[in-house]
């Protein structure tokens, strides 16, 4: 690996200061499961690596607030997958966190890192989109809150400034009964990046939200407010036609080695139907 300087700030202010000082020459290190690979490959060549894991204000706690749940920036996939509140109220996120990499990766990889890495295949991002997750970022001018949908641009690119640091992810508490599911398609069981990764939320008022990744430059969020998708009695063919309309922006890369665009699109529709059905069943079971 190419040499770099290593900084281990103990406060958010110091971390932000380092980012401001070094600009594009600095990279943040949280779990490292993507960063170390890219450092070794030389696809990124920062002069300074800023390790955020010794910042006392920045922890991996998952806290209940009046507004919902707040997940600390250092929370790992293992911690998210093991949290009962997330499993109950944000089931799709729990399921997504549990399939990221394998145990060793989940013990290191953070939710904040999964977001900031901005991979189109990030497994937790579709679930977070369907739950209207908000990213909290600290910068030189203070803290701001950004809707996740406004944060994602394309692979590796977000609307975060160079000197901003994600400190937490907020999940608003549901205002009425709902159920969710996360599904994905991989080449093999166990440990693989997804060819399709999708999350669905069905609400008791009939509104459905679906987000999907690995089918274009960034994960996309779509919704159905007509009640058709959420209707357990509606015919599959009618739902499939509606899903086809909702998925028109899917644009899988023809250059990916993981799956052909045709296969990804076909699986998007299969998993879309399955995710809707699973969420409907879970909502009915919870009542």
């Amino acid at each position: 690996m190419r040499a770099f300087a290593y900084e281990r700030p103990e406060s958010i202010a110091d971390a932000v200061g380092l980012l401001a000082e070094h600009g594009p020459e600095a990279r943040l290190l949280a779990g490292g499961t993507d960063l170390i690979i890219r450092l070794r490959e030389g696809t990124i060549r920062p002069r300074v690596v800023v390790d955020v894991k010794r910042i006392a204000e920045l922890d991996g706690g998952i806290r209940e607030t009046e507004a919902g749940l707040t997940i600390g920036a250092r929370a790992t996939m293992t911690a998210i997958g093991a949290d009962d509140r997330i499993r109950r109220d944000f089931t799709a996120l729990s399921e997504a966190a549990a399939v990221v990499g394998a145990v060793q990766i989940r013990n290191r990889a953070t939710l904040a890192g999964n977001i900031c890495n901005a991979s189109p295949a990030a497994d937790t991002v579709p679930a977070l989109l369907t739950f209207d997750a908000v990213v909290v970022a600290a910068g030189p001018g203070g803290t701001r809150r950004i809707a996740l949908d406004e944060l994602l641009v394309r692979s590796g690119v977000t609307t975060l400034a160079r000197d901003e640091l994600v400190t937490a992810i907020e999940l608003p508490q549901p205002d009425l009964a709902r159920a969710s599911a996360h599904l994905r398609r991989t080449r093999r069981r166990g440990h693989d990046l997804a060819a399709v990764t999708i999350a669905c939320v069905v609400r008791a008022d009939g509104r459905t939200r679906i987000a999907y990744g690995s089918l274009g430059p960034r994960p996309l969020l779509v919704g159905d407010d007509s009640g058709l998708l959420a209707d357990a009695a509606a015919a599959d063919a009618v739902k499939a036609a509606l899903l086809a309309q909702l998925f028109t922006d899917a644009s899988p890369s023809p250059r990916s080695m993981r799956a052909s665009p045709d296969y990804r699109l076909a699986m998007l529709h299969v998993l879309g139907m399955r995710a809707v059905r699973t969420a409907i069943e879970r909502l009915a079971g919870a009542r």
Binding site: M1, R2, A3, F4, A5, Y6, R8, L29, G32, T33, I36, I37, L39, R40, R47, V49, D51, K53, T78, G101, A102, V103, Q104, I105, N107, R108, R189, G190, H191
Partner: protein, 160 residues
């Protein structure tokens, strides 16, 4: 740029160690090259094969995806820490008894992942073993014997 070094303090297999490491070196490099613990293997270097798996404060991690400086202050267990002198750990003995080691290269990582699994799930089901060891590849494809070894060790009681 010139390589920057940093002294780190850590506990490896119960023994306190103080070692100076280059800040751009991985924990895997520090274990093998600076501490001489070559049981931990270097293989894919992208976190897919698990040959470099070690326990850091009880959690299994790929040591190729962690900088050595990140382990400052941590307590580590490598495959060298599983045996008690000449007496093999229960998992190691079970791997021998079932013939789970073929070429043997992946076995240190498999053992550490199984050790981590036992810590949270002393009596895992076959599905839990498969999930717990999903991050450890075996190119000899000795998975059946590896799973049998973990089942055998679980039956024999508390893993050593």
């Amino acid at each position: 740029m010139t390589a920057q070094a940093r002294r780190i303090e850590l506990t490896v297999n119960g023994r306190s160690r103080s070692v100076e490491v280059a800040v751009h070196h991985t924990l895997l490099e520090a274990l093998r090259d600076d501490l001489g613990l070559t049981g931990t293997k270097e293989c894919c270097l992208v976190g897919e094969c698990g040959a470099c798996t070690v326990l850091v404060d009880g959690a299994s991690v790929d040591s190729c995806l962690m900088l050595a400086v990140e382990a400052d202050g941590a307590s580590l267990t490598t495959v060298e820490g599983l045996a008690d002198g000449e007496r093999l750990g229960r998992l190691q003995q079970a791997f021998l008894d079932t013939g789970a080691a073929q070429c043997g290269f992946c076995i240190p990582g498999q053992l550490i992942s199984a050790e981590a699994l036992f810590a949270s799930t002393p009596h895992p089901t076959r599905a839990e073993i498969e999930e717990g060891l999903a991050g450890n590849l075996c190119r000899c494809a000795g998975y059946e014997q590896i799973f049998e070894a973990v089942e055998l060790a679980a039956r024999d009681g508390t893993p050593a």
